[in-house]
Amino acid sequence: MFVLDDLLFRPFVGIVDALHSIALDELYDVEALEDELKENQLLYELGERPEEEYRRRKEELEAELETARDAHEQLSSGRVEVKR
């Protein structure tokens, strides 16, 4: 019975884990946030984005990026429980 359970459940759990991790990747898209930070910097340097807006956006994005990185770190270290 144990073997049967194993065979039946493992693939299923694997898919749930994978879906969960895809959802997390989308919710906390580190790469997209990094790109936005670079765009913000570029538009400021080219004189299109005013300094005040640039600073505000930079702060927001850096905070979001930190949250996203923390979320990924916690997931990969197993500190976030995957609910099934």
Partner: protein, 207 residues
């Protein structure tokens, strides 16, 4: 401060000067193995944190080394290479010697320049045609060029160019002429930098 932070590799053992260095150090110097030298400053970690300030200092020190003694060729390292001590560093210099030599030959007397083309907010751009035009106007002057990440949909071209010092002025003029012909684009032309994008030597501190 017994660890060593590496900026890059030079073909001598004589680079040494006082400057604002990474992690608050105030002097850079060379650790050599058979006339291949690593330009370093002292640091108290082998895993330095990349702050904006230190990343800028890293670039600035590389520029100073490039200007040192009337012009010094340096194989630049990315931010963050730090070694336990002199012995570990010399082992890397010994092991990667051929790779460093090759890289040095590739970049000797050359600098890296960056070109970003950003479309005006409402401009409609034929990216392919633009790439072709840029290649036609700039590639013949450069020794090499490489495409970089297009991290924004406003960014229509992002390239790095390796240019002979002797061709710098011609290249500057070609970029200026291109800019004059394209009102629909904003041009960000940067450098000279140490030729990061044209050096494929990575050394690991944990080797």
């Amino acid at each position: 401060m017994s660890n060593r932070y590496v900026y890059g590799i030079v073909d001598s053992d004589t680079v040494e000067f006082e400057t604002d260095a990474v992690a608050g150090a105030d002097r850079v110097y060379t650790i050599s193995h058979r006339r291949l030298g690593a330009v370093v400053s002292d640091i108290d970690t082998t895993d330095p944190e990349e702050t904006d300030e230190d990343a800028q200092i890293h670039d600035e020190v590389l520029r100073e080394i490039m200007d040192y003694d009337g012009g010094t060729t340096i194989v630049p390292m990315q931010f963050g290479m730090a070694f336990e001590g002199d012995r570990e560093l010399k082992n890397v210099l010994r092991g990667a010697r051929p790779a460093f030599r090759r890289a040095m030959n590739d970049i000797e007397g050359r600098v890296e320049l960056g070109l970003k083309l950003v479309r005006e907010e409402d401009a409609d751009i034929d990216r392919e045609a633009l790439e072709e035009e840029v290649a036609e106007r700039l590639d013949p002057i450069a020794a090499q060029s490489v495409a970089n990440d297009l991290f924004s949909d406003r960014l229509v071209l992002n390239r790095s160019y390796l240019v002979d010092e002797a061709e710098r002025e011609t290249f500057d003029e070609a970029v200026a002429a291109f800019e004059d012909d394209h009102d629909e684009l904003m041009v960000q032309y940067t450098g000279p930098f140490a030729p990061y994008s044209f050096v494929d030597v990575k050394i690991g501190a944990k080797q």
